[in-house]
Each structure stands twice: as C-alpha cells, then as structure tokens.
C-alpha cells in the first residue's frame, strides 16, 4: 500500500520534471532558429516606430574597473537617434558563470562583451551568438583595421564577433629604481636572458623593504605565454614541451636568483601586480596594455607617485623584438536577440573607430587600430611619450585560439603550471602530464 503510493508520487513528480525538460529543450530550439525570424521583425518595427529602440548589453564592472563601457554607452546614446543602449553590469569575477545562467534561462539580452577566448568558445559552441556578416556587408563595414584578429573571431567562415579590445604584453619599469641602481632603462630589444640578468641586479633589501627585480603575476598563463610568443606550439594541440624554456626561466628567477617573488608566496599573500608595481616594490614587470590606463588613472588620483616607462616585452633571442602574446576582448550579438540591427549599431560604434579613439584616450588598446587611434593613446596626459615605440608590434600571437576545449585547457594548464611553479612536480613531469591530460580531453570530447 504504502510503497505503491510513494511510487505514484514519485512517478507524478518525475512526469512534472520531464515536462519541464521538454519545455527547456523547446525553448532552446526556438532560440536556435531565431536568427531568421529576427531580421524580418526588426525591419517591420523600424519602419513603424520612430522612437529609440532599447537594447540591453551585458558587460562588467562599469562602476569600478571598466568605466569605459559607461563612457561608450553614454556617447552612443547621445549620437544615435534610433537606438538606446542599456548596460547590464555584472561583477567581472563572476561574469562567465552569471551570464551563462542568464542566457540559459532566456533573459532578454541583446548584446554581450566577452571576457576571454574560452568564454567566446563556449558561447560559439552553445550557439548563443549570431553571425554578423549580413550587417557587415550591408554597411560595407571596413574590417581591415582589425588585421589578423578579424580572422580569429571567424567560425565556419562567418564573423561571429568584433575584436573590441586587443591587449598584448609589454614591459613596464620603475625609472627611480633603475636610476638608483645606475642601470640604463630597458630598451625595446631586450631578450629574456638580459631580462633575467638585469632583474638580478635590481633586486635588493629584505622584509618590507625588499625590492624585486620583477614580478610574475599569478594569472593562469603568465609563464606559458613567454613561450607561446615563439609560435613553437600552442595551448590547444598538445605537445607542451615547447613551454620548457618559459618555466625554466621563471623557476630560475624565483628559486635561484630570488629576483622574483615565488609563485607560492604571490598566490598565498594574494599579491597583485598593480599594488606591487605602484608601491615601488618591483623594478620592472611584463603586463597587459590595460595597465597603462591604470597607471595613468592612479597617478592622477594620487594613489601612487611612481615614475614609470614602457618598452616592448622581452623576447627570446631567436625571435624579433615586438614578438609578444595578445588577448582579445570580443563583442557580439546574442542569437536570442530580436533586435539585431540595433545591436549592430552599438557594436559598430564601440568596436569601430569612434569607440577605439575613446578607449585609446583611457589608455586601453582597442582592437580597431589605425593612426588616429594610436595617436589618441600616445597623446594622453601621463603617457610616457618617449616610449611610444613600445606599442608597435611585429607579431602578436594569440594566447589561446577559439576551440571547443579552450576553457578546459585553460583550467588544466592552470593546475599543472601551479604544480610546476610550487615545485610539486618537475618541469618535465608537469609538461608530460599536460600532454596526457590534453590527449584524454580530446578523446572525451570527440
């Protein structure tokens, strides 16, 4: 008796759940087939309605660390007669998880700023972003200023996103520390061997007065990127032997020379490159171009009085100066949006020349590069004008290319790098493990 009733209840509930599952999949099917419906609808509405169309664009930290989104949206709203963009602000730490849940539940969002290539890859895989070719050809939009980056964001021949920002690694140095040590400032043609030697000379002091020659931040790929610039391998296809010189360099500097804080110390003390450099504890470090904007802003705000300069990132002897690793920040149209035309207007603005100049004025490197944009960056008050050449690159290798396993590879790389850098594994063991785990991953996700 009792048992029967329980089974009945259970079956009932499971039915509800399956119904539910049915709904879920129906919704996503609709979403997948939406692009066709989309354009008709927008055409119909633009002809009848004269007031501004509202679109929602998701991005991060507009109140604290990424105020440029706000600037862009305000400027766009001022200039556009047809479209009004509303920003949906999400904390950058939780950006990927939170946007994923929102998109799954079908929140009405129209456009998205994408934090990194792994997120771009999963959006692509989940068919949550829509191709832009139709709009590009309609407007005859010039893709040339994006250079090779335009191709990075193509899938099956279609442009799926615009490169809004394109940061790359450069070298930052503290002039005062160099002056004190009576060493010449770093030049654009510095090699990693020279970098190591100079770092050793710049290291001094103890305890709270310690000055480090350099600092490697605890990003997942800080060290790996050093080798990725050589184009001898990449983070997706396996065969990680090519990363060995990078890990050797980092470990020698951290463990033997003691010219860089160890990974373990940096991780456990929650060290941050900005505080390390701005408080004068680090003589020079390699960091993304976004750091320019931070330094300018903080100096203006008076939180630091550092006297800084920039140069091209160091390179291995066999490569040319100006060889470095870069990272794209794409912006895209969500396939669930019914307002593709309006979203395109905003994308075109923020990732186009106008937006690029605005980013440049904030000290950020846009994806859209031409002379006007470069001038904008170099002419900001507080930019080290003598070091303009640091921003000229010869070869910017993408840190990670779009791939269905990109997010998982990044996680695996982070785990194994951590083991190598904390000396829980030797470099060879760690890299071998990386190879094996990549193989397993490829087999799993066939």
């Amino acid at each position: 008796m009792k048992f029967k009733k329980i089974t009945a209840i259970f079956i009932g509930l499971s039915l509800i759940a399956t119904l539910f599952a049915g709904c879920g999949s129906k919704k996503t099917e609709e979403a997948a087939s939406q692009p066709e419906v989309q354009s008709e609808e927008t055409q119909a509405s633009t002809s009848t309605v004269s007031e501004k169309k509202k679109i929602k664009f998701v991005c991060w930290d507009i109140a604290t660390n990424a105020k440029e989104f706000n600037d862009l949206a305000e400027e766009f709203n001022k200039q556009s007669d047809t479209v009004e963009v509303e920003l949906v602000d999400i904390a950058s730490k939780d950006y990927i998880d939170k946007t994923a849940v929102m998109l799954t539940a079908g929140e009405d969002l129209d456009g998205i700023a994408i934090k990194e290539i792994p997120q771009y890859s999963s959006l692509l895989m989940k068919k949550q972003i829509a191709p832009l070719d139709e709009y590009i050809s309609k407007d005859n939009f010039n893709m040339n200023p994006y250079g090779a980056n335009a191709d990075v964001l193509k899938a099956e021949g279609k442009t799926m996103a615009l490169p809004y920002r394109s940061d790359f690694w450069i070298l930052y140095y503290n002039k005062d520390i160099f002056d004190k040590a009576k060493l010449a400032y770093p030049t654009d043609d510095m090699t990693w061997e020279q970098f190591r030697e100079i770092s050793k000379k710049l290291t001094s002091g103890k305890g709270n007065d310690k000055i480090w020659g350099t600092y490697f931040h605890t990003f997942d790929n800080t060290i790996a990127d050093i080798s990725t610039a050589t184009r001898k391998g990449d983070l997706i296809s396996g065969n990680f032997g090519y990363l060995k010189p990078a890990f050797e360099l980092a470990l020698e500097m951290e463990q033997d020379d003691k010219s860089a804080m160890t990974f373990a110390a940096a991780k456990t003390s929650n060290a941050h490159y900005k505080a390390m450099f701005e408080s004068g504890k680090v003589a020079m470090h390699v960091m993304g171009t976004w750091h320019i904007g931070q330094l300018i802003a903080d100096k203006k705000a008076g939180t630091t009085n550092i006297n800084w300069g920039i140069a091209k990132a160091p390179h291995f002897a066999e490569n040319k100066p100006g060889t470095t690793v870069g990272n794209l920040t794409p912006v895209a149209l969500l396939s669930s949006s019914k307002k593709g035309d309006s979203v395109w207007e905003f994308l075109k603005f923020m990732a186009g020349e106008k937006g690029a100049v605005m980013l440049g004025q904030r000290g950020l490197m846009p994806g859209y590069i031409n002379q006007a944009v470069l001038d904008a960056v170099a002419s900001i008050d507080g930019f080290p004008k003598d070091n303009k050449s640091a921003l000229e690159t010869v070869d910017v290798v993408q840190q990670l290319l779009p791939h269905k396993n990109a997010a998982q590879m990044k996680k695996i790389l982070a785990e194994e790098s951590e083991l190598i850098l904390t000396k829980a594994k030797s470099i060879d063991e760690g890299l071998k493990e990386l190879d094996e785990r990549t193989k397993d991953l490829a087999a799993d996700n066939k």
Binding site: G24, T64, A91, D94, V101, A105, N270, H272, S279, T303
Partner: protein, 282 residues
C-alpha cells in the same frame, strides 16, 4: 545533599579557572584573522600586502570607511540585505516550525519517507539544480527581484530538519496532557511547543539570518541590477582581474559584520531559555 552541593560548588572552582584559561587561549586563536582584517581595513591599499605583517598600520586611512559608501552603492546593498534577511528569517521560522511539528508530533502515513525526501534534497548541491530553479523563477517572471530569493530561501528543508530534531526531544507527556485538556494540534503547537522551543527557534533564526546575510551564490544568480544587490555581491565589486582593493573589502566586511554581531548578542539570551530554565515539569 548539603555535602553534595558543597562539593559541586567548591570542586569545579579550580577546573573552572583552568577551563577559562583554556578558553581564553582558544579565543585568541579564533580571533586571529579578525585582527588582521581590522588592521587591513585601515591601511592604504598598497600597504595591505606587506610582510612581515604590520599589525598597527603605518598610516591610518579612515577614508576607507568613507570610500566604501561612495565608490559603490553600499547603503542600498545594506538596506537590501537587511530586508531580505528579516523577511526570509521570519517566513523560514513560521513555515518550518509548522512542518517540523507535523514531522515530530503527529503520526501519519508516509511520514518517514517524506522526511527522508526532505533531508535528501539537502544533500544535493545547489550548484547542480540552480539552473532548473532559475528557469522556474524566470518563467514566473521573477528574475532580478528580491521575491525570487525570498521564495527559494524561505522554505528550505534545513529548517524543518533542525526544528524536528528539537521538537522530538520535548517530552510527549506535555502534548498528551494538553490533548486531554482539550487543546487542538494548533493550540499545542502555539502554546506548548513554540515557547519551549525558543532555543531551537533562536538557533534556526540565527542560522537563517547569517546564511542570508552572507550568502553569495544565490544573490549572484538571482539578482542583477545594482539597485537589487546585497552586501556580499557589493564586496565582490572590489575584486577583479584588473584590480583588487583588499583594504576596501576589509572595511566593507567589518561594517557588514556589525549588525550580525548585535543580533547575536541580543538573541543569545533565548538560547539558554530551554526546558531546563523555564522549569516546566517533564
């Protein structure tokens, strides 16, 4: 008898003193991180990472406590958190105590099975069912509203479980004699069980309030607009790949702890008002 009470009074004295010494040492260890938090909250951001730790800041930067209210909408986040905490805690206490009474004091068929189903869901990590839950909330048109959080957090199995355990330890004779006196189940619940269960209700109240106050994943998923965020989400705004302001995080954390400490100081009086102290004969 007199000998016995005397023994009780004199003998524990030494052990009591030793006990307090032990407790004091333990308390110092327990409070260690808070000393760091407090000290960091008064430092300029770039000094927070200094080693060896400087416990008394070189420069006192009181401005941190001003900045947190200016840089983010901390006042709004504070208000939201208070509002959610009060409503959810009240609903949780009310509905859980009713359900727990049914589980503990009324014999009905399927009781144990249903109870296991309740506990069972506690064992499923939120991370797994938050997507389907979010879809339901979204279908009800409630995403990015405080109501969504209230609905998902006010009816948890946890509260029912906790109260059931306490209700079970209340002697059956009490409710039996009330039944003979003609009191209905609702009467027994309100007049006998609830007053006796003050410690349990207080523990659940504290638990729920602290949980809601410090919850992070729930608000992260359910709240989006700045006007709806809670303190814990607000604190995260000081943390990103491009920047981290630990001084401000610590200042915000210190401010956010104050009301919870006050609630605890007030509520702890009820914790010791059990059957033992109310003097009802078992």
């Amino acid at each position: 008898m007199p000998i016995n009470t005397e023994l009780r009074r004199s003998k524990p004295n030494l052990t009591t003193i030793l006990g307090y010494i032990g407790l004091s040492i333990a308390a110092v260890l327990v409070m260690f991180p808070f000393a760091w938090m407090l000290s960091a909250s008064f430092k300029p951001d770039n000094d927070v990472y200094e080693f060896p730790i400087r416990w008394i800041p070189k420069i006192f930067r009181w401005q941190n406590y001003v900045d947190i209210w200016k840089q983010i909408k901390f006042g709004v986040f504070y208000f939201n958190t208070v509002k959610l905490t009060v409503i959810i805690t009240f609903l949780q206490l009310l509905t859980s105590s009713l359900a727990a009474y049914a589980f503990a004091k009324i014999k009905f068929k399927g009781r144990n099975t249903l109870f296991i189903a309740y506990i069972g869901t506690i064992a499923v990590p939120f991370q797994v069912y938050m997507i389907p839950q979010f879809i339901i909330i979204r279908k009800l048109g409630l995403s990015d509203s405080h109501l969504s959080l209230i609905l998902i957090q006010a009816f948890t199995a946890y509260g029912v479980f906790l109260l059931r355990q306490f209700f079970m330890s209340i002697p059956e004779e009490l409710s039996e004699s009330a039944r003979i006196d003609g009191l209905g189940e609702l009467g027994i619940y309100a007049k006998i069980i609830l007053p006796l269960a003050k410690p349990a209700l207080t523990s659940l109240g504290i638990f729920t309030a602290v949980f809601v106050w410090n919850d992070f994943l729930g608000p992260l998923i359910y709240l989006t607009s700045q006007k709806n965020l809670t303190i814990q989400l607000g604190i995260r705004l000081f943390l990103s790949d491009y920047n981290q302001s630990f001084a401000l995080i610590m200042a915000a954390a210190v401010c956010s702890m104050i009301p919870v400490v006050l609630i605890f100081l007030i509520a702890q009086r009820f914790l010791i008002e059990g059957i033992a102290t109310t003097g009802i004969k078992g």
